[in-house]
């Protein structure tokens, strides 16, 4: 088992991502390279479905490291994020000791609060040494957790250590590669952002999105891919409540490929609009004449480019 080397330049980082089928732009490659080089957490913010979580997965795959994911939710606390004691086993141990007539409390405490009774949760796992190099620690949708948890994360992110009262401080020999993602359902505190390298993951431009579709949707026809991307790009310029992300584009391209479409037509668009838009107001606004108009614009542009 050996540790795969980290990329040594921005270009190498870009190649690394592209090689794993993640079509990244240079700004993302830059910030990722810096975060790996400096050992600082990467803080990715952006709309849903632009490929934030995917970055961590690709990193784990290409660097051949363990991926440890902590999905945040309201009410997430130390017991479910860091560690938990196996209470049932502890209670049995205590009763057994009592039945055997052991009354040395200190010995018992040391026994009961020791490694075998400890259940490790993601944060603790991420701080453990690994033969393949420090793991990729994905803290997903941090905005869903409450502020108290965020404050706790500060210690973990800045010192790479957690303290368990009965055992002591557990420090990572090598800091994990931390990727924090948020959907902005809440503003994350400045103190936490300050410790990270920040990157706003934006929707891709037409060229990059086309590469992503070709990369990710096997068997997609070229004309369909171009039209799909052209249409979605225009859709994002509309005043929508929820713009379609890259994930929606990929879903749509796959759906149309499943339907054996060679190109877009207004009827199919209105039938499958629910794959792209997730709000009734948005669908109502785009359905019918507006979607036809957008399609015509997209086609005109494609014709001009050829």
């Amino acid at each position: 088992m050996s540790v795969r080397p980290l990329p040594q330049s921005i270009d190498e980082t870009l190649q690394l991502l592209n090689g794993a089928g993640y079509v990244a732009d240079r700004s993302l490659a830059t910030v990722l390279f810096l975060s790996l080089k400096m050992g600082r957490p990467l803080f990715l913010e952006g709309e849903a479905g632009v490929g934030k979580t995917e970055i961590a997965k690709v990193l784990s795959q290409t660097l051949d490291r363990r991926l440890i994911r902590l999905q945040c939710y309201e009410g997430l606390d130390v017991a479910s994020a860091v560690y938990e004691w196996n209470y049932t086993a502890q209670m049995i141990e205590i009763r057994l000791a009592e039945a055997a007539g052991d009354s040395d409390r200190r010995m018992l405490a040391e026994d009961v609060f020791s490694e075998p009774f400890l259940i490790k949760r993601p944060v603790l796992q991420a701080l453990e040494p690994d033969l393949n190099g420090p793991p990729i620690f994905l803290i997903d949708e941090l905005d869903r957790a409450d502020e108290a948890f965020e404050a706790f994360l500060l210690e973990v992110l800045s010192d790479n250590q957690v303290t368990i009262p009965e055992i002591g401080t557990i420090r990572a020999p090598e800091p994990p590669v931390v990727v924090v993602t948020t959907n902005r359902t809440r503003e994350i505190h400045d103190a936490l952002k300050r410790r990270c390298l920040y990157h706003w993951v934006d929707y891709p431009d037409a060229e990059r999105e086309l590469r992503i579709v070709n990369e990710r949707v096997p068997g997609v026809r070229e004309r369909l891919a171009r039209e799909v991307v052209g249409f979605v790009q225009r859709l994002r310029r509309e005043d929508l409540f929820k713009k379609p992300g890259v994930a929606e584009t990929l879903d749509w391209a796959s759906a149309l490929t499943e339907l054996d479409m060679v190109a877009l037509d207004p009827e199919v668009i209105s039938d499958t609009l629910g794959v792209l838009l997730k709000y009734q107001d948005d669908i109502g606004r785009i359905e019918g004449s507006r979607s036809k108009q957008l399609l015509d614009e997209a086609r005109a542009e494609l014709a001009a480019a050829e």
């Binding site: 009410g75 004691w85 209470y87 209670m91 205590i94 000791a97 409390r105 359902t185």
Partner: protein
């Protein structure tokens, strides 16, 4: 102490008194410290003198601008520092000329100085409270008086009353568990408690859901028709912001986020920050556009965690065409509770006739006046009662 020292000491005493009137917590001990500090520091320049007093009298960031203004007025205006320096050093430094626009805190300090001057002329020495105590009946009148009809002095008392308002107790249950005396069994604490008695006693420890105040989101109209209320509203939001999580947005023709500005401790500084951030004070209103921008850019970012929205506007929409009803409906659907505060409600014969008002009304949970202290007290009470959900689906104002 030499005679010079005596004069300086006297002046420091007066200066401290001025600071106290401007609202800084300066006690007699601080005055003694300041006099001693000035003696120890051995003043040789104005800056040294400034920072020496600053070190003693200022112990909160928010007090810095007030101290600065007070110092400028008290020492520089009357050339006192120069006089002192003349007394203390052979060469007096030249006095820099300066003209600047009024800064936050200046108003308060100037008033304090004015009062001090008058008092010094009378040579009255007993301490007077900052707050001129009002009689009960005066308070009652003030509580009911419309903000728009108040004098500057009354507004000032109203602001003070706002700052000391009882704040709402509108807690919601979160999913986080905390230790409690009753509730479900908390295994972690139970094991620890058991260990303390080496397993002789198993004492079940409990935990329960934590309660928390939900964030407030205020959308305040600062257009021309609301101008008499804007300042008071901002003060109210400032007082709220110091106690809980409040996101504040102001809108006229555009929407601006002033959350950070309102977190400054000093109310004058906070309001000055808001004026800098907002470009369209007292202009027209485009409520629908403002709500649209809020829904599109901000609602997902600030309406999580069960936020309560305070929409502060008179609902007089000047722009036709934009779909105010749809935007209000979206806003109502995306928050836990939508409360509309409308100063127009003070009129007994108020009827929802204006189109804008009729468009917003069906989508709000609560519709209240907000033109006087009493109305704001009522609002606080209303916040403390649970929200009335679900909303009636039918339009109320036909």
């Amino acid at each position: 102490m030499t005679e010079t020292g005596g004069k300086i000491a006297d002046n420091i005493v007066y200066f401290a008194r001025a600071l106290r009137r401007a609202g800084l917590p300066v006690g007699p001990a601080a005055v003694v410290d300041a006099i001693r500090a000035v003696e120890v520091a051995g003043i040789s320049s104005r800056d040294d003198f400034y920072w020496t007093l600053h070190a003693v009298f200022v112990n909160k960031r928010a007090d810095r601008p007030v101290f600065h203004e007070a110092f400028e007025l008290f020492w520089r205006e009357r050339g006192l520092v120069e006089k002192m320096l003349e007394l203390l050093s052979p060469v007096a430094p030249p006095r820099p000329a300066e003209t600047e626009k009024p800064k936050p805190g200046q108003q308060r300090v100037e008033e304090a100085m004015q009062a001090l001057k008058e008092r010094r002329e009378e040579e009255v020495f007993p301490e007077i409270e900052i707050d001129a105590r009002m009689t009960v009946s005066e308070k009652e009148i003030l509580r009911r008086k419309d903000f728009a009809q108040m004098s500057a002095e009354e507004i000032a008392s109203a602001m003070r009353a706002l700052a000391s308002l009882q704040f709402p107790d509108d807690q919601i249950v979160t999913r986080r568990l905390v230790a409690a005396t009753r509730g479900k069994v908390d295994p972690r604490r139970t094991v620890r408690a058991t260990m303390r008695s080496a397993g002789d006693l198993i004492l079940p420890q409990a935990r329960k859901r934590k309660v928390q105040e939900p964030p407030l989101v205020a959308l305040a109209d600062i257009s021309g028709s609301m101008s008499e209320y804007s300042r008071v509203m901002l003060h109210f939001l400032h007082a709220l912001s110091s106690r809980r999580k409040v996101h504040s947005f102001l809108f006229g023709t555009r929407l601006s986020n002033v959350t950070r500005q309102l977190r400054y401790k000093d109310p004058d500084e906070a309001l000055a920050g808001c004026s800098d951030a907002v470009v369209d004070w007292s202009g027209g209103t485009r409520i629908a556009d403002a709500l649209h921008v809020f829904n599109r850019d901000w609602s997902r970012r600030v309406l999580g965690q069960g936020a309560t929205v305070l929409l502060i506007t008179d609902g007089l929409e000047r722009e036709e065409g934009a779909d105010l009803g749809a935007e209000a409906a979206r806003l109502g659907r995306s928050c836990r509770r939508l409360i509309w505060l409308n100063p127009l409600l003070r009129f007994e014969q108020f009827e929802a006739k204006a189109r804008g008002i009729r468009a917003i009304l069906p989508h709000v949970d609560d519709f209240r006046p907000v033109h006087s202290l009493e109305a704001i007290e009522d609002l606080v009470k209303a916040l403390s009662t649970p929200a009335k959900r679900p909303r009636p689906a039918v339009s109320r104002a036909a």
